[in-house]
């Protein structure tokens, strides 16, 4: 993984500031953030996982959203860098997944099989609490530069701010309210994928592409389109319409 030019970094933070307007779509924001994180860190893929307050992990967004990646995130409910990161509240780095089968007997072989050689988990922190983590996967073995780690941590902090939607969380209750809302909006996207897959006779990954493509072409928030689809599929008669 590589060093990041300062100008590119500045561009990303401007894009983040532009997105964090009043009524933004959280899932879309987190997707943008994971894509930029992967790009800036020179990683093959990046994803974001949140923990609910019962301790379950939930996938929220990734630079590459397909079934294979989703499984690689979800298997970390049991073991993997995310678990270790969440447990300790500290970043976890593994530069050689091929030699990590002892540490993560289920996760490591799957990650290698998916074509990855290294993995990182960077905590999303709110004061003393860890609410989730950014997960980075690299193609080959080999580490992230030290300044790369700092940048990814900064992006993880930005993700936390986006999630909480206000910089100064006055009440502890706000975390719960926003977190549960975020987790539920993710579920709606999955339900919408199923609706689309069935209507258009496509697989789940193609269904997501249809959902995302339609939202972009029509300048609609992906969360709103998904909600409309699961509430009344007839409200969006043709997702392939330009």
């Amino acid at each position: 993984m590589t060093t990041v030019p300062a100008e590119r970094l500045a561009d990303v933070f401007v894009e983040v500031a532009d997105t964090l307007v009043d009524d933004f779509d959280l899932i879309e924001f987190l997707q943008m953030l994971t894509s930029r994180t992967a790009e800036l860190a020179g990683a093959a893929a990046a994803g974001l996982l949140l923990a609910d307050q019962q301790g379950n992990l939930q996938f929220m967004a990734a630079s590459e959203e397909d079934t294979k990646m989703l499984e690689l995130f979800q298997v970390q409910n049991h073991e993997g860098p995310y678990q270790d990161c969440f447990r300790t509240g500290r970043p976890v780095a593994n530069a050689d997944l091929g030699a990590a089968a002892d540490r993560w007997p289920v996760f490591a072989p799957r990650a290698v099989e998916a074509g990855f050689g290294s993995v990182y988990a960077i905590p999303m922190r709110l004061r003393t609490e860890t609410i989730g983590a950014l997960n980075l996967f690299g193609d080959g073995a080999g580490g992230l530069q030290p300044d790369g780690m700092h940048i990814v941590q900064a992006l993880a902090d930005v993700a936390t701010i986006g999630l909480l939607q206000e910089r100064a969380v006055r009440r502890g209750e706000v975390l719960t309210e926003q977190l549960q809302s975020a987790l539920n909006s993710r579920i709606i996207i999955e339900q919408a994928k199923g609706v689309i897959a069935q209507i258009y006779t496509v697989d789940i990954d193609q269904a997501f592409e249809l959902l995302r493509g339609y939202s972009r072409r029509h300048h609609l928030r992906i969360g709103n389109v998904a909600r409309a689809l699961v509430t009344d599929p007839a409200s969006i008669p043709n997702l392939t319409a330009v």
Partner: protein, 247 residues
Amino acid sequence: MTPDDRFGSAASVQGFIAREPVPTDDLSPLVGGLQRLCGAAVRALSASGAVVSMMTESGSLGVAAASDDTSRLMAEREFVVGEGPCIDAFAFRRPCLQPDLGDGEFTRWPGYTAAALEQGVHAVFAFPLQVGGARLGVLDVFRDHPGSLRPEHLALALSFAEVVVTMLLDGQANAPADQSARGLDEALGYRSELYQAQGMVMIQLRVSLAEAMVRLRAHAYAEDRRLGAVAHDVVGGRLCLNASSGR
């Protein structure tokens, strides 16, 4: 809470419910079960009351079960004044936690707040009963003293809400104990696939999103298969629930 504790709260919800007396009134099994759950929630969460309200997309509201008359009254009052934690939790699809209704700076629901304080309710915590886009209602928990829910109470309250959702979907008060434990285990595995299957079944059977989850669960139960395995087959195109299957 660490990931190792994750089995804790759902299991203890069942434990709290089991310790509650069975209602003596002549109630349907579902309503009786919900009433028992409300009583259990009060005890488990050091609360003064709890109520399950049913809501629909069009906003109509009815109380399904309550631990006591004050809680039932509070839920009904909210419907009358048209504002309050239950309406907000449903509308915004997220918990609405108000630990101090007597806080002078809090003005979101003037009518509701006045009524609550009059009834001696000082804190209210409302949890939406939902699975993604499928919304069923809200669980309200009341306290007669101000103060936030401690983290372990919060986790437990969220688990109570999940148990209510399961009860409402299954339309029965008591899922077999081993089945709910199994459901939890699966929930940790491939939840995305379960929700994707739910969306597919909604179209296959032309039913609501909530009904689609009921059908998936019914199929798994009838065929004695794991819910996750059924969802996997639906998503993989190997299983298509048709109108004659299930109920």
